[in-house]
Each structure stands twice: as structure tokens, then as C-alpha cells.
């Protein structure tokens, strides 16, 4: 799962070191239209629905946080 998430993130923003970055949202590293694209692709890839309540800096600030979010949402479905 982690590999696939990383692939999606890197496709959108090849310039970011997602393995080490921990302030993707609160540090204004990702733009809002990056998030739109990432959310759409994660929804498709993992057959989940990321809701507005999931769209928080805590869930999107790092690869680890994002992986946890997707595991949680996949479990719910």
C-alpha cells in the first residue's frame, strides 16, 4: 500500500521528498489543487471515499499519516 501511495504522490509532485516530509499541508508544501488530484487518485486506487472530515493537516502532513488514514478508511468499507 505504501509503495502505491508514494507512487501517486510522486506522480503529482515529483519535487517533494515524501518519505521525510512531515508538514505537507501545514507547511504549505502541497497546493490545494494537488490535494484534489491526490484525493481523487487515492479514492480510485483504494476504493475508498475520503470525506471533508478526513481532509485535515494531521491526516495529510506525511506519508505515514496518509497511510494510516487509508488503512482506517479501507477497514471501514
Amino acid at each position: 500500500m505504501r509503495e502505491k501511495i508514494l507512487e501517486i504522490l510522486t506522480e503529482v509532485r515529483p519535487d517533494i521528498d515524501f518519505e521525510n516530509e512531515t508538514e505537507l499541508v501545514s507547511g504549505n508544501i502541497l497546493e490545494s489543487f494537488d490535494i484534489v488530484q491526490i484525493v481523487a487518485e487515492l479514492d480510485d486506487e483504494f476504493d475508498i471515499e475520503i470525506s471533508p472530515k478526513d481532509l485535515t493537516a494531521e491526516n495529510f502532513n506525511s506519508l505515514d499519516a496518509l497511510e494510516e488514514l487509508i488503512e482506517r478508511l479501507s477497514g471501514e468499507g
Binding site: 503529482v12 509532485r13 515529483p14 519535487d15 499541508v25 501545514s26 504549505n28 502541497l30 497546493e31 490545494s32 489543487f33 494537488d34 490535494i35 484534489v36 488530484q37 484525493v39 481523487a40 470525506s51 471533508p52 472530515k53 481532509l55 485535515t56 493537516a57 495529510f60
Partner: protein
């Protein structure tokens, strides 16, 4: 509302002093850290003005390189007290671009974060301020705001007090903003849309809440803030509204107090607007159109019916004291129903591009339809058509300029940045449906290296998120890039 003209307000300092007298301790601006009252804005701006009169002996605009906060707005107004125009220069742009901007601007002084405590501590000297003040004309430069220019060279649009006062008064009138409203600002302060966030409070006494950029990708967090601060009025970019919609913002929450919504910057999608109308049935929606060169805007359209999903929304009618008309390719009048270039005359036409006589002369011209006198106009390069009911419709561009995320982007500026990265042949395209910038290129450099190099040259929103390496770009028989074939590849 009484007009600024009848109140003898000739510049934004008169406006600020009028507001400070009327609204005193009411909050004018707030950010996540603090808020500042109208009176405090006045006092701090006067301190900034005094400091600058003492320390800046040069001619020309003052570059303001500060993060987005209430202090930055105070500094802008303080620069005006010192008798100079202010020029916001973003901190989040690549060094190369900032250097180009500063080279073009030739600032007399640069203000950065480290200087702020000293500047704000200056003792106000009313004699010095009054001395400067008496020389300011309402037609003098107020600010310089940079916008994308072709060939990779940003253009600094200079705007006068008069143009600004005229536009803000028109905008507050159309939106029906009064002192009971609360605004929420989305725009970066170095971008033209911020002039509403800065000056509408001074006109009307509303509080303006500066919303952090990252809240616009966290819809629940954003709507919580809007509800907590009882925000009733926003002027946001079309793309910010469209992104919130794509993120299904209304799923859990609603901005309960929001009643006045203006969107601008690019074409609004009917389906997006329809959803907002359904979610906020009591809100007024206004579509606004116009470039930085006509003081942010020149026309507006108050949406007076539930729009259809495929409806093309008019850009409408001119704001007061703007004349908006069409010119044909051979500089002749255009009949109703036919396409022409949108041209603008009146108080909103700005003073041109700073230190750039050539590009100024090309866009700010004498009206070719007015033979009797020299009427100065701005030619937008946008194509428009007047509908039978008199409303203006937007029909795209004459050139390769596009609007992305509310910002103007010259596609050849991206290709120039690719060329500066060692790519000889490239072609930039815009997929307006998905709001994606594409770059196709030939060459040995891999896409990641190219993306990194583009990031050193262009602001983030201009860096294509879709970059494709090709053995050879498709060509037309005349040797030019075949954009239609490339377009078909992205759909």
C-alpha cells in the same frame, strides 16, 4: 452610501482616517495570531510612514517582502504615508523570479520581516507626514502588482488612488456590503484580488479575516472558521470555490452566515455554481471579470436565477465609471452578437507597467474608435460578445494566456522556463476541464529533474503537474507544434 467623491476622499489615507474616526476600536483585520482595530491601523501606518520618510531617501516604489499577516496590510498603508507606492513581493516565489521582479521594479527601499519591530517603534511625526501628504494627487501611483508576462518577464501593473477608490466603491455597492458584514480573505497579499480584502474594510467598516491558505484544502476546518467568525461576505477565486466543491465541502458542514459571494479569476463552471446555490439558497452570487490592468475588475453579473449545469455565465455589465466595449481585428466597432477584443476605458484603467514603456504602449493605447480626443484605453486581449440583452459574454483569448488557480499564466512563460532548463523543444497546454497544466518536451532530461528545475524558475501554481517526455513533438506541415494532436492526447 455616500460616495468618496462627495466626502472629499482623494486617496487611501483620507479613506483610512475617515474609517479610523468612524469605526475606532472595531476590528479592521485579523489573522490566526491577532486582530487590529481601525485606530491601531492608523497609528501603526503613521509610524511606518514616519520611519520611511526618515530612512528612505530614494525615488520609486517600496518593495514589501513580508509574510501574509495583518502587519503587512499596515505596512502597505504606511508606505503610502511616506509618499511612495508599495509593491508586494511574495516570499513563496522562486529566487530567480523575485530577482526579475526587483530588477524591473527598481525599488527605492525593501522592507523585510526583520525590520518590522524597529519600523513599528518609530515615533509618529505629524509634521513630516503632513509635508509629504500635500503632494499626493489622486492620480498618483498607489501600488505595483506583478502579473505573468510573456517571455518569462513579469509585468508590474501600477495603479492610482483614484482607480482603486472607484473600483472598491463600485464593488461594495454591487455586493451590498455594510458594517454589519464580516469578510474572509483568501487571496495572497501580492495578488490583485487582495485589494478588496485590504480596502473594503476601510470603505465599509467590516472586519476582514485573513484565512490561512492551507484551510482551503481542509473544508471542515475552513467552514468551522467561517461559522465561528460569522463570516457573511467573501470575494474568492473561482478556482478556490471549485476546489472546495471537488473536495465535497458541503458533505458535513455549511458556512451558516455566508450571504454575499463574489467569484472571479476564471470561468465559473455552471454545475459548481448550481451546487453552491442549492446549499446556500439565501446567498447572492456575483460573477466578476477583469484584469489587473483595469484595477482587478471591470464588469460584474449578479446571478438572478438558479443556473443550469451547462450554463455559460455572463461576465455582465460594467462597474460604475468603467466603459467596456469591443474592438474588431481591424480596429473598427463590433456589432451586437459578433466577437471582438474586450477594451476598457474610464477611471479603472491603470497607469501601465512599471519601467516598461514598450509593453505599456502595446496594451494601453488611444481608443481607435474615438477620433475626437485622446481617450486612453486598455486592450485586454480577451475576446467577448454582447448578448441581445446587453450582457457581455467571455469567449476566450486572442493569445496563449490562460487562467489557472485564479492566476494569469502565459503558456510561453512555462516553455521559456523549460528552455532555461536545457529543453530545446517543449509545448505547454492547459486542460481547463480538469484544471491541469501539461508540458510535453523532447530531450534527455528526466521529468523529475525538469520539474525540479521549473520549480526554481516559476511560482508553484505555474509548474505543470503533468509532464511528459516524447521522442518527438507532433508537428504541423509548417514546422510548428501541432497543439491539436497534443490536446487529443490529454483527453
Amino acid at each position: 452610501m455616500q460616495s468618496f467623491k462627495s466626502k472629499n476622499i482623494k486617496n487611501v489615507l483620507d479613506l483610512l482616517e475617515d474609517a479610523a474616526g468612524k469605526y475606532t476600536v472595531k476590528t479592521a483585520y485579523s489573522d490566526q495570531e491577532r486582530s487590529i482595530s481601525f485606530e491601531e491601523v492608523l497609528l501603526k501606518a503613521r509610524a511606518v510612514g514616519t520611519y520611511l520618510i526618515k530612512h528612505n531617501t530614494g525615488e520609486g516604489p517600496v518593495a514589501v517582502m513580508l509574510k501574509r499577516s495583518v502587519d503587512t496590510i499596515v505596512v502597505f498603508l504606511g508606505v503610502v504615508y511616506s509618499g511612495h507606492a508599495y509593491a508586494p513581493v511574495g516570499l513563496d516565489i522562486p529566487d530567480e523570479r523575485r530577482e526579475k521582479i526587483l530588477k524591473r521594479l527598481q525599488p527605492s527601499f525593501i522592507i523585510n520581516e526583520a525590520m518590522l519591530p524597529g519600523i513599528f517603534n518609530e515615533r509618529i511625526d505629524r509634521t513630516l507626514l503632513d509635508e509629504k501628504r500635500k503632494d499626493i494627487l489622486m492620480t498618483d501611483p498607489l501600488y505595483v502588482i506583478f502579473t505573468s508576462g510573456s517571455g518569462g518577464d513579469p509585468k508590474g501593473v501600477i495603479t492610482s488612488h483614484l482607480s482603486l477608490l472607484n473600483y472598491i466603491e463600485g464593488y461594495t455597492g454591487v455586493m451590498g456590503i455594510d458594517s454589519g458584514d464580516v469578510m474572509a480573505a483568501q487571496s495572497p497579499l501580492d495578488y490583485i484580488a487582495a485589494i478588496r480584502d485590504i480596502y473594503v474594510p476601510l470603505f465599509t467598516g467590516v472586519e476582514d479575516v485573513l484565512v490561512p491558505k492551507e484551510f482551503f484544502m481542509q473544508p471542515d476546518v475552513l467552514f468551522d472558521l467561517l461559522n465561528e467568525r460569522r463570516v457573511s461576505c467573501v470575494g474568492w477565486s473561482t478556482s478556490a470555490i471549485s476546489i472546495l466543491t471537488k473536495l465535497k465541502a458541503f458533505k458535513d458542514k455549511k458556512p451558516e452566515f455566508l450571504r454575499k459571494i463574489c467569484f472571479s479569476g476564471s470561468v465559473m463552471n455552471g454545475a459548481v455554481l448550481r451546487q453552491w446555490q442549492e446549499e446556500l439558497p439565501d446567498a447572492v452570487f456575483v460573477n466578476q471579470y477583469g484584469p489587473t490592468e483595469t484595477t482587478a475588475s471591470c464588469t460584474y453579473y449578479k446571478i438572478d436565477h438558479p443556473v443550469e449545469e451547462d450554463e455559460i455565465i455572463p461576465i455582465g455589465i460594467p462597474y460604475p465609471d468603467y466603459r467596456v466595449f469591443l474592438i474588431s481585428e481591424d480596429d473598427a466597432p463590433v456589432k451586437q452578437g459578433e466577437e471582438g477584443e474586450i477594451a476598457v476605458a474610464g477611471a479603472g484603467v491603470t497607469l501601465g507597467y512599471i519601467n516598461d514603456p514598450e509593453r505599456t504602449a502595446a496594451a494601453f493605447t488611444c481608443n481607435p474608435l474615438e477620433k475626437a480626443f485622446y481617450e486612453r484605453i486598455y486592450r485586454t486581449g480577451d475576446i467577448g460578445v454582447f448578448r441581445e440583452d446587453g450582457l457581455l459574454m467571455f469567449h476566450g483569448r486572442k493569445d496563449r494566456q490562460i487562467k489557472h488557480m485564479g492566476h494569469r499564466v502565459e503558456l510561453d512563460e512555462i516553455e521559456s522556463a523549460a528552455a532555461a532548463s536545457g529543453i530545446e523543444r517543449s509545448a505547454a497546454l492547459y486542460d481547463a476541464d480538469r484544471e491541469n497544466l501539461w508540458l510535453f518536451y523532447e530531450g534527455e532530461i528526466d521529468t523529475r529533474t525538469l520539474a525540479l528545475s521549473l520549480r526554481e524558475k516559476l511560482p508553484g501554481f505555474m509548474v505543470p503537474r503533468k509532464i511528459k517526455n516524447m521522442d518527438a513533438l507532433p508537428l504541423l506541415p509548417n514546422g510548428k507544434t501541432d497543439f491539436n494532436t497534443l490536446k487529443s492526447m490529454i483527453h
